[in-house]
């Protein structure tokens, strides 16, 4: 039997006529890195803010560590740490001062040095918050979530805006939290991040959950096959039709994305043969052909019929 620290069922939230969450259900096991993946406007922030007490839910049940944020909020907030997507901090406090301030909010908080170490801001500890760079501010916000030493750490897009090095460093911090037995709830719109970092994942789109599972599970479940991808430089409609209607292979699916054509198949050899035959018949030179494993992006594309990018709303 798994031990759940967070259970959400049929969570609904609207802002006037915008339905931000339309009945979201999922649960989070203790001690995992749980990811919520979704494009802009999917409802990730709304979910986190509803769970941590900034928004009131319209409907649904929420149970976090046995508490309900609707009526045991302060009790709950003592046990969690939260980093918001657009953190606003006292501008004229020093980094070390604001960490100290936040540590005074919690009973068994971490020391300021521990936090500064983890978020790699030791040499900036005496700078005013308003003089930090965007990425540094963001890291500070993550620091203010982990200073709580809470059982669940909520991070809303913790790595957005970080340089690659800082990003990898933060992944390390998140993995350490897990080692200490904490549960991490994070949102991201980076597919690769979700794939590498998360033990368990929900994909959120337009206020609803389209699937839940570990990244490997999601990929395997949707594709026990590989992907052939090549560039679409003015390929004729006739050629595309022939490809699409080719009943030749087992389990083919065909998608167009961003001037690329994707063929999902479990029979790479015969599929490639067929593809090259067709291109020869049509006298077409295929360009940029690659063969790869399916990724979460492919899962998203398959489940929503839309390409995953930040314009997807």
């Amino acid at each position: 039997m798994s031990d759940y620290v967070l259970k959400v069922s049929n969570l609904k939230k609207s802002f006037k006529d915008v339905k931000a969450l339309t009945g979201v259900s999922f649960s989070v096991e203790k001690g995992v890195i749980f990811g919520m993946l979704g494009p802009n406007g999917a409802g990730k922030t709304t979910t986190i803010e509803t769970l941590t007490g900034l928004n009131k839910r319209d409907q649904g049940q929420v149970d976090i560590l046995g508490l309900d944020p609707a009526n045991q909020l302060k009790e709950l907030q003592k046990k969690i740490g939260v980093q918001l997507q657009s953190p606003a901090l006292f501008p004229r406090l020093k980094v070390v001062e604001i960490i100290k301030l936040f540590s005074s909010f919690y009973k068994s908080s971490l020391s300021t040095d521990q936090v500064l170490e983890q978020i790699d801001l030791m040499e900036k500890k005496d700078s005013w918050v308003k003089n930090l760079s965007g990425g540094q501010k963001h890291r500070l916000a993550v620091g203010l979530a982990i200073v709580s030493n809470g059982e669940i750490i909520f991070l809303d897009e913790p790595t957005t805006g970080l340089d690659p090095q800082a990003r990898i460093k933060l992944w390390e911090v998140i993995r350490n939290l897990k080692k200490e037995g904490k549960t991490v709830f994070l949102t991201t719109h980076y597919m690769d991040e979700a794939e590498k970092l998360c033990d368990d994942l929900v994909i959120l789109d337009r206020g609803r959950i389209i699937t839940q599972g570990s990244p490997e599970h999601l990929i395997d479940q949707n594709f026990d096959d590989k992907v052939i991808e090549f560039r679409d430089q003015n390929l004729s409609a006739k050629f595309k039709d022939q490809l699409k209607n080719s009943s030749f292979f087992n389990k083919i699916s065909f998608e167009e994305k961003n001037n690329h054509i994707l063929i999902y198949t479990d029979q790479i050899r015969s599929s490639l043969k067929r593809l090259f035959n067709l291109s020869e018949q049509n006298n077409i030179e295929l360009e940029g052909v690659i063969i790869r494993k399916a990724t979460l992006e492919d899962v998203f594309l398959k489940l929503t019929g839309r390409e995953y990018n930040d314009e997807t709303i």
Partner: protein, 358 residues
């Protein structure tokens, strides 16, 4: 309590590091004190002393004494009858009154010269008296060529009337307290606007502590302003405080609370920093001029007086004037305080009703 302390310290650091904010809170009132002080104190910076000159005779000697004194450039001579000049001294319009008896030719007699000074300006009086003694000593030698002709008798007259600046100094403090309360609310508005208050909403910090630490800090600042203004008034412009400091602080705290809650009430109706500024200014600016804190209500046109009579600043000004320099207002002290308390209660109620945390 620990939370309160930490937040208070954080607020304080934020405030002290905000240079323009500190200017308005501390430097601005100081500048006001000096500007008004230099304009309105009687001695002014030109050091012209108002001398009331009463001559009871019209002899050559009387005339030449008058001339010698009039020749001193820092003296402004007001020649007049004894009663008139004494009254002027009592009202604070003379620094000193000099009474010369009729000096006839019989210089063997001793003539008693009376110098009357005000008890309010002991320091200036000492200087004036010794320089006048010097002058009479010279006159003795040059005019009469005899010693000990004049016997100088000095006495002080208690003057309970005050200079214009005595009226204004409590007004400056009242103004500072009003600004602190009204403009101080921008701090919260800013935190609300920037989402800092909202952000703190995910921590176990009870939001009321944010407010209580702000309010406490402002009351502390108002006490600091009081001490500063009283100090400057005393040392540079000779304003005497008639009540104990504790009584003054009591009135200051009540006034500060009234204006702090008025400030919070005003920003509940603002949905941005700009509109907040607008609303506060609309209230603050007219109140500054319509409350009689810088000149008595009697100077204002009749149709404005009803407005003056409802503004809280009027009553804070009244109360401070009474406890600081002893100028009574047209209404009783109880009335002044009661009206301030009524304003506090009303504004607190309205604020609570319409309050927005985000």
């Amino acid at each position: 309590m620990k939370l309160f302390k930490e937040l208070f310290i954080a607020n304080l650091k934020e405030l002290i590091r905000d240079k323009s904010g500190m200017f308005w809170l501390i430097a601005f009132p100081i500048i006001f004190v000096f500007i008004f002080g230099l304009i309105f104190t009687n001695s002014g910076n030109e050091q012209l002393y108002n001398i009331g000159f009463v001559s009871e005779g019209d002899t050559v000697f009387n005339k030449s004494i008058e001339e010698s004194i009039a020749n001193i450039s820092v003296f402004k001579i007001n020649k007049g009858k004894k009663q008139v000049e004494l009254k002027a001294l009592q009202e604070g319009n003379r620094d000193l009154v000099l009474i010369i008896p009729e000096i006839n030719r019989n210089l063997n007699e001793q003539f008693e010269i009376e110098i009357l000074t005000s008890d309010q300006r002991a320091q200036a009086s000492t200087v004036l008296i010794s320089s006048l003694k010097e002058i009479f000593y010279n006159i003795e030698r040059q005019i009469t060529n005899q010693k000990e002709v004049f016997k100088i008798k000095t006495s002080t007259v208690s003057t309970d009337t005050l200079s214009d600046f005595d009226y204004i100094l409590p007004g400056i403090l009242a103004m500072a307290i009003m600004q602190l309360g009204l403009f101080g609310s921008f701090n919260f508005l800013n935190l609300r606007e920037k989402g800092i208050i909202r952000g703190l909403g995910v921590t176990p910090l009870p939001r009321q502590i944010i407010l209580s630490s702000e309010i406490t800090m402002r009351i502390v600042i108002s006490i600091i302003q009081t001490v500063l203004i009283i100090f400057l008034g005393r040392w540079f412009f000779n304003v005497h405080i008639v009540s104990s400091l504790l009584v003054v602080f009591g009135v200051v705290v009540i006034g500060a609370f009234t204006f702090i809650s008025l400030g919070y009430m005003l920003i509940t109706f603002a949905d941005s920093m700009e509109s907040g500024r607008g609303i506060v200014q609309i209230v603050q600016f007219p109140m500054l001029f319509l409350s009689g804190i810088f000149f008595p209500i009697d100077f204002m046109p009749k149709y404005i007086r009803p407005i003056v009579k409802v503004l809280p600043l009027t009553y804070l000004g009244n109360a401070l004037r009474e406890v600081m320099v002893g100028i009574p207002s047209q209404v009783t002290m109880t009335r002044n305080i009661t009206i301030l308390v009524i304003w506090s209660v009303l504004t607190v109620l309205i604020t609570v009703k319409f309050w927005k945390w985000e």
